[in-house]
C-alpha cells in the first residue's frame, strides 16, 4: 500500500471568505441593505437552528466548496442526487431563508448587496444572485428521503419528531441565494475559543505542528465514555503502513436539546482524554464545527466526511447509528453508504469512489462493549461471549451522573467526569435545561465587536 498524505480540500480549493481588515470590511458593507439574522423556530418558539452557524462554517471553509446560500439549481442538485450544480458531492441544502414580511421590508432584488447582522452588529455581506420560493416541507422530505423513494435505508417516514426534518420544515418559503463573506469575525467565548480551528489552520497544525501524515476523524456530540475512547483508539489502528498518526475529535456544536450535555463539558471532556494521557496530546486533538445537527445518519455522514477532509483528515470512523435519532434509518445506513453506496441518494458506489466525490477513507466500525469474560472492553467482532456483553449506554451514564454517582473509571475516566462536574457547578445542572437553552439561544457561542458602517 502506498503511503497516504493529507487529501486536498473537497472541491479542490479551500473556501476562505473572511475579511479581518476593518477598512475593507466597511467598504464592502457600505450602502448594503441590512437584515438581522433570526433563528429558525418550532411553532412554540423554541429555536432549532441559527443560520449564523452555517455562515461561519461556509466562510471558514468547513463546507468547501460551498460558498454561500444555494441557488435553486444547487438546491435541486442536492435534493435529487446530493450534488452541487458544479458536480461536487454535497448532502444538505444550505439556505438563507426569509419570511414574506422580511422580504417585503428589505425590498431586495437580484444584484443587490445585503448586510447580514448578528446580535445587532454587522456580521457578513452577500451579493444576491437569486431570490426564489421553496416548499419547506418538500425540501425537508427530499433531504432525508422516504421509505418509498429510498428503500435501501429509510425505514420510517420522517415526521415532526425528527429534529433535522423540523429544521427544514420550519424554514421560511423565500430563499435568498448568494455567496457570503464575513466582515466582522465573531470572537468565541471561553472555552470555545480554545477549540476553534478552522480548516486552513487545522491543516497547518496537522502538517507542521503535529506532523501527522495520516489522521482519523472522530465525530462527537457527547462527553466521551471509555467505549468512545476504545472506538477512537482501535479505529486509529487503520492507516497505511502504520496506524494513523493522529486522531482529530470534531464536535458538532449547535442547537441543543434538553438532556444533552452542555457544549462546554463535551469539549473539555474530550480534552481531558488527551490532557490526562489516555491518548497522548501528540496524537489527539479536539476541535469543533458550528452546525445545527440534522441527525441525517447517512446524509449527515457525507457532511462529516466533507468537513473532516477539509480539516485535513485522511480517514473517518463511522459507527452504528451514526448521527442518528429514532428508527428512521437502518442502523447501518451510514456503513451501507460507505461500503457499497445508496443509488437512490445518488451513490452507485461509495462517496469516495464516485466522480467529484470525497477523498477521505471510511473506517466502518462495529461495536465495543465490556466483556466480563475477556475482562476488558471488547470489540464485538472479536468477543465470542455475546450473551455476557455489558453494553455502554450514554443514557445509562447520564442517569448515573444525575444521581450523583461517580461512574467507575472503567466506564468513564475520572477527569472526564470532573469536566462534567465543573460545568455542572457553573450551570447548577449537569445537562442542558431550559435556562441553559435560553442563555445559549440569546448569546450564541460568540460575541461581535461593535462596527459602524459608513452610509453609502
Amino acid at each position: 500500500m502506498p503511503k497516504l498524505n493529507i487529501p486536498p480540500p473537497h472541491g479542490g480549493e479551500l473556501v476562505y471568505r473572511v475579511i479581518e481588515k476593518r477598512d475593507y470590511a466597511e467598504s464592502m458593507a457600505a450602502g448594503a441593505i441590512e437584515f438581522d439574522l433570526k433563528p429558525t423556530t418550532l411553532p412554540d418558539g423554541t429555536p432549532i437552528r441559527h443560520v449564523y452557524r452555517e455562515i461561519m462554517s461556509v466562510c471558514y471553509g468547513f463546507f468547501s466548496p460551498v460558498e454561500g446560500s444555494m441557488t435553486s439549481a444547487d438546491l435541486e442538485g442536492v435534493l435529487k442526487e446530493r450534488r452541487l450544480e458544479n458536480g461536487w458531492v454535497f448532502p444538505y441544502p444550505i439556505l438563507l431563508d426569509v419570511s414574506d414580511e422580511d422580504l417585503k421590508a428589505m425590498d431586495v432584488k437580484e444584484g443587490d448587496r445585503l448586510l447580514l447582522k448578528l446580535k445587532g452588529q454587522p456580521f457578513a455581506v452577500m451579493d444576491v444572485e437569486e431570490i426564489y420560493k421553496i416548499n419547506p416541507e418538500e425540501v425537508a422530505t427530499r433531504t432525508f428521503g422516504t421509505p418509498e423513494d429510498n428503500p435501501e435505508v429509510v425505514r420510517e417516514p420522517f415526521n415532526e419528531k425528527h429534529p433535522g426534518y423540523m429544521i427544514y420544515k420550519m424554514m421560511n418559503s423565500n430563499v435568498i441565494a448568494g455567496k457570503w463573506t464575513i466582515i466582522n469575525p465573531p470572537k468565541f467565548r471561553e472555552p470555545y475559543d480554545r477549540f476553534w480551528l478552522p480548516p486552513a489552520e487545522c491543516r497547518t497544525v496537522i502538517k507542521y505542528v503535529k506532523k501527522w501524515r495520516t489522521c482519523i476523524a472522530h465525530q462527537t456530540r457527547n462527553v466521551p465514555h471509555t467505549g468512545h475512547e476504545a472506538l477512537m483508539k482501535n479505529a486509529a489502528y487503520t492507516g497505511d503502513i502504520e496506524p494513523c498518526h493522529g486522531i482529530l475529535v470534531n464536535a458538532i456544536i449547535g442547537a441543543k436539546r434538553r438532556g444533552d450535555y452542555p457544549n462546554e463539558a463535551i469539549l473539555e471532556g474530550h480534552e481531558a482524554v488527551n490532557k490526562y494521557g489516555y491518548i497522548k496530546p501528540s496524537r489527539h486533538m479536539v476541535t469543533f464545527t458550528l452546525w445545527d445537527m440534522r441527525y441525517g445518519n447517512p446524509i449527515e455522514s457525507l457532511l462529516h466526511g466533507i468537513i473532516r477532509q477539509n480539516m485535513g483528515c485522511t480517514h473517518h470512523m463511522f459507527g452504528r447509528d451514526h448521527a442518528a435519532v429514532g428508527e428512521y434509518y437502518d442502523k447501518y445506513a451510514t456503513q451501507i453508504l460507505w461500503s457499497k453506496g445508496i443509488p437512490s441518494f445518488g451513490f452507485e458506489a461509495p462517496p469516495n469512489e464516485v466522480e467529484k466525490g470525497l477523498k477521505i477513507i471510511p473506517q466502518n466500525m462495529a461495536e465495543f462493549w465490556y466483556c466480563p469474560v475477556c475482562g476488558e472492553i471488547a470489540y464485538s467482532e472479536n468477543c465470542g461471549h455475546v450473551d455476557k456483553k455489558q453494553k455502554f449506554s450514554g443514557s445509562f451514564l447520564r442517569g448515573m451522573v444525575a444521581e450523583g454517582v461517580m461512574p467507575p473509571k472503567v466506564v468513564m475516566r475520572p477527569e472526564v467526569y470532573k469536566a462534567i462536574v465543573k460545568w455542572w457547578k457553573v450551570f447548577n445542572y449537569p445537562f442542558v435545561n431550559k435556562k441553559y437553552l435560553e442563555n445559549l439561544n440569546a448569546n450564541l457561542e460568540v460575541d461581535l465587536e461593535p462596527m459602524e458602517i459608513p452610509k453609502a
Binding site: 444521581e403 466506564v411 445542572y429
Partner: protein, 115 residues
C-alpha cells in the same frame, strides 16, 4: 417485550439491602466496578412510564433511561420497603407525586462534592 430499570447501588444503598433477600439479586457489572439491581417492567407499564416523562426512552439494551432522579429514588425506596423487585405497580401508584418532584429537578440538581 419486557423492559428494565437499572438501579445503581452505591455504598449507602447497598447497606440498606444487605442481609435481605434482595442481596442475592444484586448484579455486578463492569468487572465488579458497579453494583446494580434490575427491575423488570412489562411493556404496558413501560408505556405508562414513557408517557409520564417526556424525555424517557428505551435504550439499545432495553433499559428505560433518561427518567427523573426522583423516579429512580422511588424505585429504590419501594425495593427496600417491600424487600422485592416486583414493585413497579407500587411505583406507578406514586406517579403524580414523582412528577411533582421531577418538575423541580428540571432546574436544579445539586452538584456532587468532588475536588
Amino acid at each position: 417485550m419486557v423492559h428494565y430499570i437499572g438501579v445503581i447501588l452505591d455504598e449507602s444503598r447497598y447497606e440498606q439491602i444487605k442481609g435481605t433477600p434482595i442481596e442475592e439479586k444484586v448484579q455486578s457489572i463492569f468487572g465488579g466496578a458497579l453494583k446494580m439491581l434490575v427491575v423488570e417492567v412489562p411493556e404496558d407499564k413501560s408505556e405508562q412510564i414513557l408517557k409520564a416523562f417526556d424525555r424517557a426512552r428505551i435504550d439499545s439494551r432495553g433499559f428505560i433511561e433518561d427518567v427523573p432522579v426522583a423516579f429512580r429514588r422511588a424505585v429504590f425506596e419501594e425495593i427496600v420497603k417491600n424487600k422485592s423487585l416486583d414493585i413497579i405497580d407500587k411505583v406507578l401508584e406514586r406517579l403524580p407525586e414523582i412528577q411533582e418532584l421531577a418538575k423541580k429537578e428540571d432546574e436544579y440538581i445539586p452538584p456532587p462534592e468532588i475536588e
